[in-house]
Point group: C2
Chain length 517, copies 2
């Protein structure tokens, strides 16, 4: 390849999903080839080729003068031992870069361009800067629905695709997904036990939190092991019909993971990217039927019925063309669901519902039954409208709890579960009032600053919800933390704005009805 | 600041202009604060605050468990010794991030928004990902001319501004600039001696090549030292009225340097960003009068007269409002200027013109006289149209050469100049033909692969130019290199496409007139 040969050395730096190559400034290759910091280089070894961004190093302890250092991710991708010879050369831009430039120029890309571009993304041939350019370009020039379809297909094609070989209920593999943005919304941990108790196959993989105080994987981890090798997962699904595991290791739609790593810091979430991201992951995971939860509210991702309907139709268009049965449900997103925000608190809420505890959060229970019912109606033997009742019967009979315990035991029950953070601070109402609205984003940030999800017992416990009347000095919520600094951060943020909109109670009316705001 | 205190350690990694903080995965702060790879953090020490992107480290040799590692750039910015205590905390997004989101959303930003946004860019509060988003957003939503004006003002305000205190010719500080894209176009090294010989103040600072085979600073470095401290530069200008130095160290328009670090890898060059970049640097450098060279041709940056005129008017609009006298000249950009491409070869061409050598490249000489003449006409005592003749007289009399030698001696003459690369390959015409066009981009890439500018003696020497007739087997150009691998790269690229468009010569016509293609 006309490159220069060096020995590979692993550099213990986690650059997330960007390949970084470290070369010493005095390395003859650096001067001879004219490499500069942020140059893009290709590394060839043993038939594997990766692109990497170059960081120039001035310290022999990080990388000796004549070695080629690779960041953790790049080293793992090369898949050769330390000391193996590798060739370094100037990187040609990925072949699909002209499509990226056309997209930046506002043009529409054809199907084969999407396939090539996303394949290059999945192979880490794009730098973070180029990925950010792609994300902004597709955000600004809203993709038409066929482009969203091509993007979704391309994302599926760029990774592995699971086949559960299901013989159950006509080969159906059911799943549910929420577009996100609502803290405490842990319906998956109720829906999976209910629908698998009904006999459906529901191999649910979930994400960990990135910007939220808990993902389903974080909350499930309070109860059971979630980080399972794929073969073990498949065995659990054969045994229990379901699972509640972390999906990060399965290499499903890897291009999506890479794009998300730049979308998150930019807080960009365009409809096209959302649809492609969710549907590519679900189809790659082998799902055939999907109930989609689209929460709508003033601090949710979707803020108006018009926006919700447009998003729903885009999901339906792409899903239909890719052979996925989709039932999209627009739900109430005006406040967090349940009481707890943070892994331990959310796991508590889930187990209260499964135990049919009289104080279990009503809204979490109702929403889980709604979604489970819609999934059950994918069963050709169930009459339209009967799903909710079947789901309720499964829950009330204790079969959902038994099923959850079976899944927990199969994945590996946590013997010493993390405890609730003992440092607390209560945020109280300054006056007698009725709760009008609760800001999802604000409460998420407070729970995160308190330490969630990395400190599982940290978070926020909501003591009053929309429609509740509160007296002056009555607590609205309690912040839990493990470390004093975290409690300080979260308390300070809550002091600036507690995230509760309060209205004077109507004279003579003790309590406003739910949703009166 | 509620942050966590750690000791600063310098990590010898050059991340170019992105601040990177390195924390060990086992550092208690990482877990307690929930830092993850690519988190943005703030570092406070001794009253200085910087934002940095976090890389998580697994190797104590890079950063010990309880230290805070900083990349070279971040360490320099903090300006405290190693071992100094620093506080690390989650970074709030820069205050101007909402303006960035408005720009991504296609909105027009007001003057104060531009000032705040560019100040945050200059203070390195934006990550590479956010900078890429900014660059693409301003590229896609073409800035209106007032936004370009505000962006230019903001860039000037974010750095230092030089004042030459000139008493010469009414305080005029003259400069010339080319928008780039044409290899070999080293007119500055002719124009500066000519106009300073006329008595004008012309403190020319230039860039090094980033994507081209040579910048003026690279070529001048063949003859003299160009990396001079600012005080020394000022003394040279007082002494000789001019200089030909590298401008990179002066902290003029630092936001521009940061934006360029993401524009280059994306190969994005929108008119608004080009105008703001060039004019902010010139005005910050204290220029009062500027001749601007806009080359136009099929492989130049500007490819049509309409595009050239629109760009010219945008430059004029912004320059006028910022009090800069601007004379924009649209020039012939259909092929490289002069014969040599690469530092040593270009320096040879320049010295041949200054020495009035009969074989000096005619086109380089003519273009330098044109531009110098326009600059001389900024002199209120010179009649319109007389500039070219005055410039020619200065050149032919040897005064320009004497002035160049004075500048070279003042900056520090190179006693042992680099020699031309001795490894050569000639690219020949496959048939008898006339040269119709020469691809600027192709020839630049061939010269770069040959080793320019890092190997000063590498490059391409053009032996036939547009309009010349060549026999079958007659060389079109000669590639010079120092290293066999470089010669191999460059030769291989030239074999794929030599960059010359050839046409059968018209029968009976020995040679086509210049420009007949």
């Amino acid at each position: 390849m006309n490159g220069q040969t060096l020995r590979i050395r692993r550099v213990g730096i986690d650059t997330y999903r960007e390949n970084v190559a470290y070369l010493h400034r005095d390395c003859p290759v650096v001067r001879a080839a004219g490499f500069q910091a942020l140059s893009k280089v290709t590394v060839h070894a043993n038939g594997t080729v990766i692109n990497a961004v170059l960081n120039v190093v001035d310290d022999e302890r990080i990388v000796p003068t004549c070695d080629l250092g690779l960041s953790e991710d790049a080293f793992a991708r090369m898949n050769v031992p330390e000391g193996h010879a590798a060739e370094v050369a100037h990187a040609e831009p990925p072949a699909s870069i002209s499509s990226l430039h056309r997209k930046i120029g506002g043009e529409r890309l054809a199907r084969d361009e999407w396939i090539a571009l996303i394949a290059d993304v999945a192979q880490a041939r794009y730098s973070k800067i180029e990925l950010a350019a792609f994300v902004v370009a597709t955000h600004q020039n809203e993709l038409d629905r066929d482009e969203v379809l091509y993007l979704t297909e391309a994302m599926i094609a760029a990774g592995r695709r699971l086949d559960w070989g299901s013989q159950v209920r006509g080969g159906a593999v059911v799943d549910k997904h929420c577009i996100g943005g609502i803290p405490g919304n842990r319906t998956s941990m109720l829906v999976v036990p209910i629908v698998t108790a009904h006999g459906m196959l529901c191999p649910k993989t979930s994400s960990r939190a990135i910007t939220s105080p808990a993902g389903t994987a974080d909350t499930m981890e309070v109860l059971a092991r979630v980080d399972l090798p794929f073969d073990r997962l498949a065995a659990i699904v054969r045994e229990t019909s379901g699972c509640l595991a972390w999906g990060g290791g399965a290499e499903l739609s890897p291009a999506d993971d890479i794009l998300i790593s730049v979308e998150r810091p930019l807080a960009l979430d365009s409809p096209g990217q959302m649809v492609a991201s969710i549907l590519s992951k679900k189809i790659a995971a082998g799902s055939t039927h999907l109930v989609l939860d689209i929460p709508m509210g003033p601090s949710a991702k979707v803020r108006s019925m018009g926006q919700a309907q447009r998003l729903k139709k885009l999901f339906e268009y792409v899903a239909t063309r890719l052979g996925l049965q989709l039932d999209a449900v627009i739900t109430d997103g005006r406040q967090p669901i349940g009481r707890g925000i943070g892994p331990v608190l959310e796991a508590r809420d889930v187990m209260m519902v499964l135990n049919n505890h009289p104080d279990a959060p009503h809204d979490l229970r109702q929403k889980a039954l709604l979604l489970a019912g819609r999934m059950i109606e994918f069963d050709p033997d169930v009459r339209g409208g009967d799903g909710w009742r079947i789901a309720r019967d499964i829950l009330e009979s204790g079969r959902a709890l038994a099923q959850m315990n079976a899944i927990i035991d199969a994945q590996g029950r946590v013997t010493d579960p993390p405890s609730l953070g003992t440092l607390t601070h209560e945020v109280c109402s300054p006056q007698a009032a009725a709760v009008q609205a609760i800001d999802n984003l604000r409460l998420s940030r407070i729970a995160r600053l308190a330490g969630a999800p990395l400190v599982p017992g940290a978070g926020v416990d909501l003591l009053a919800k929309v429609g509740d009347a509160v007296a002056a000095g009555q607590p609205l919520y309690r912040i839990h933390a493990r470390f004093p600094a975290d409690l300080g951060f979260a308390t300070a943020l809550a002091a600036r704005d507690a995230g509760y909109a309060l209205a004077a109670p109507v004279p003579g009316v003790g309590e406003l009805p739910f949703g009166a705001a």
